[in-house]
């Protein structure tokens, strides 16, 4: 008799790329279990605040619970401080929320993207228990291992250990970043069985939030 597992991996990949004045957050829309597809049309992206978007892959039950939890905490912050949470503030909150369940973790692999208080793009990448870092770009999920080397090659993120500290922001323009994201997802879809169907791309910049959908391979 197999032991009951509280977790399940519903697959999928999330990517975020930060630029000067914009941030691109993208995730595929396929939900799987084992070798089956549950749905081709499920969004992994959640808007938590004005300029703050969370993309999560992993166990969909925990993703939903985490998103609801964060949205409720954001509302409490709004009531207390009379303003919406900034992206760096939400980044810390997400880390704390994940570590709170250190001994029964949220099975979620998160990427938080948005604009910081100066209007520059920021991406925060997490592990399942809340360890996080601000970077210029990140990929999480089943296709991450396929995507990250390509992003490294294109975006040349400076090592955070060198001095003087260099900006973790990419040299690309907004449309170049969107094209890059489309390309990496097309590549990941070829080899990762859990990634495909549709790609949801959300771009945040000073004029607001813009969403588009691209078809991916359905096999």
């Amino acid at each position: 008799m197999a032991k009951f597992s509280p977790y399940e991996n519903n697959g999928g990949t999330c990517v975020a790329v930060a630029g000067d004045g914009y941030c691109v957050v993208a995730a595929d829309t396929r939900l799987s279990v084992g070798y089956s597809i549950l749905t081709r049309d499920h969004s992994k992206i959640c808007q938590l605040a004005d300029k703050c978007i969370l993309a999560s892959s992993g166990f969909q039950g925990d993703i939903k619970a985490l998103q609801k939890n964060l949205a409720a905490k954001e509302l409490v912050y709004e009531h207390n401080h009379n303003k919406k949470m900034s992206c760096p503030a939400m980044a810390q909150l997400l880390s704390n929320t994940l570590y709170y369940k250190r001994f029964f973790p949220y099975y979620t692999f998160n990427v938080l993207g948005g604009l910081d208080s100066q209007g520059k793009g920021c991406v925060f990448t997490y592990d399942a228990v809340g360890s996080y870092e601000r970077t210029g770009y990140s990929a999480q999920g089943t296709g991450a291992k396929l995507i990250t080397p390509v992003l490294d090659n294109k975006l040349k993120s400076p090592n955070p250990l060198i001095l003087p500290a260099r900006d973790a922001v990419t040299p690309l323009s907004e449309s170049e970043a969107v094209d890059l994201v489309k390309d990496v997802f097309a590549s990941a879809t070829e080899r990762d069985i859990y990634t495909g169907d549709k790609l949801e791309i959300v771009v945040i910049n000073s004029s607001g939030i813009h969403r588009e959908y691209i078809e991916l391979r359905k096999d």
């Binding site: 609801k68 409720a72 509302l75 409490v76 009531h79």
Partner: protein, 268 residues
């Protein structure tokens, strides 16, 4: 009210069947500065007269957003009101978390009333010394409730609480029957006129009143609970005063449905 031997604690009845501590708590509401609320089928408006402790201090906040679809205006011990607002906010967030839909206004008023009632039946507690006008929008339309320290609550078309609220109530009593069909702008003007009644001669400006509105527009989209900014309030006040000063024709007076005709001046 005079001191007597049955008013020491809230768990003592008087021989006439009264709980004096609860009634004293309702007196505290009457000492607070005035608030009015009114509603149509689709919109609810709350207005409060701001009172500052001294010229040097800021005004007390009397209108609080509780959720996107609801808010409260309070009169009485504002510290108690602040704590109750926090409770209401938390109830709304918890309800949306579980049911993914906004807490209906009647249930919100009920939760508040139940919380108030608890304090009238525990010897180690005291009743909350604040009356709240709860305004909100839900599936069944716009609603306005008054919650008092006794734990009672009623739904109203229009109501006023706090000091000199009788003047506002008299004003509202004359006009409330038409409110269901009022536009939001008319509601706001009447709310401001009602507050003006409670100021007893003092000039109404955007710095001594706060107005908030929540409702559903004609196209079905929601106008979330929001305090109207001071600049817009001043514009509305100015337009109300301009309409008062303009000479009114006899036929216009009779068919007047706008909230711009001047209320009878109070000489007291």
């Amino acid at each position: 009210m005079f001191r007597n031997q049955y008013d020491t604690d809230v768990t003592t009845w008087s021989p006439q069947g009264r709980l004096f501590q609860v009634e004293y708590a309702m007196e505290a509401v009457k000492q607070g500065s005035a608030c009015v609320g009114l509603r149509s089928r689709t919109h609810a408006v709350l207005a409060a007269a701001n009172k500052a402790a001294s010229e040097l201090s800021s005004h007390q906040r009397k209108v609080f957003r509780v959720a996107e679809h609801a808010g409260v205006a309070l009169a009485g011990l504002t510290a108690d009101g602040r704590v109750l607002s926090r409770f209401l906010r938390s109830e709304c967030i918890n309800h949306s978390f579980v049911y993914e839909s906004p807490l209906p206004v009647s249930r919100l008023a009920l939760r508040l009333a139940d919380k108030a009632q608890v304090c009238t039946q525990r010897s180690w507690k005291r009743p909350y010394g604040v009356g709240l006008l709860v305004a909100g929008l839900d599936e069944t339309g716009a609603h306005l409730y008054y919650n008092c320290p006794s734990g009672n609550y009623f739904e109203y078309q229009a109501f006023a609480i706090g000091s000199r609220s009788q003047a506002a109530k008299t004003f509202l009593e004359r006009r409330f029957e038409k409110y269901n069909d009022y536009t939001p702008e008319q509601l706001i003007k009447d709310a401001l006129s009602a507050i003006k009644e409670t100021l007893q001669g003092e000039k109404l400006t955007s710095s001594n009143c706060t107005v908030a509105i929540v409702g559903r527009k004609d196209d079905g989209t929601m106008e979330p609970f929001e305090t109207i900014d001071a600049k817009r309030i001043q514009e509305i006040i100015d337009s109300m005063e301009a309409a008062e000063e303009a000479p009114t024709e006899p036929s216009a007076m009779q068919q007047e449905e706008e909230g711009t005709d001047a209320a009878a001046p109070m000489d007291i």
